[in-house]
Amino acid sequence: MRSIYITSDKLDSQACTEAVTYDGAGGIVVFVGTVRNATKGKAVLHLDFEAYEKMALKEMQKIADRAMERWGLYSMVIHHRTGLVPIGEEAVVIACSSAHRKEAFQACEFAIDTLKETVPIWKKEVFEDGEVWVSAHP
């Protein structure tokens, strides 16, 4: 089972965990990326995410396909939020399940690492005195 989703609504890590739960699964690993209140010591007000949605969904699907095949997973869920995300709220949730835990850990870390490299989503940090597109400059 795969569930790939981009939404401007609140994410629900509990629903993602339940979605990958399966009677044959021994290990479930969930990664939740939340919005931090500071970057390099500077207070962040909130994040603003923008996605090239059509392509982002395709790239997220590719990640899930590769992870499912490489680690023989039962299921993987990748949900990403867009728009304004307040401090402490979930920006991304990746959950996966497999018969053994090692595979689930590796697949989950691969998925978030790859998402951050390939999926066309952009994050703007909004400060009191300005805003910055994250990672734009070297």
Binding site: H80, V92, E117, P120
Partner: protein, 80 residues
């Protein structure tokens, strides 16, 4: 030929708009279009990377563009 290029993230700020129309040589490659963009908008040089997606897929630099291609500027991504 004339192509429309759609921009996201900081690329939108550099273009000062969501999209531009660009007049390029027919059978122009992605590499040629990127050079033309950097020439017209030198701020693209300050980015850590700049890619073009065509029809919602990453393409190689020598991909030959077509008038009907959906061309999107992909500055460094930062999801997650």
């Amino acid at each position: 030929m004339n192509i429309e290029i759609v921009a996201f993230g900081i690329a939108k700020d550099i273009l000062k708009g969501k999209s531009i129309q660009l007049e390029v040589a027919s059978a122009a490659t992605v590499e040629q279009v990127k050079k033309q963009l950097v020439n017209d908008y030198p701020d693209f040089q300050t980015l850590a990377s700049l890619q073009l997606a065509v029809n919602a897929e990453y393409v190689v630099d020598d991909y030959v563009l077509n008038e009907n291609d959906e061309v999107v500027l992909i500055p460094p991504v930062s999801g997650g």
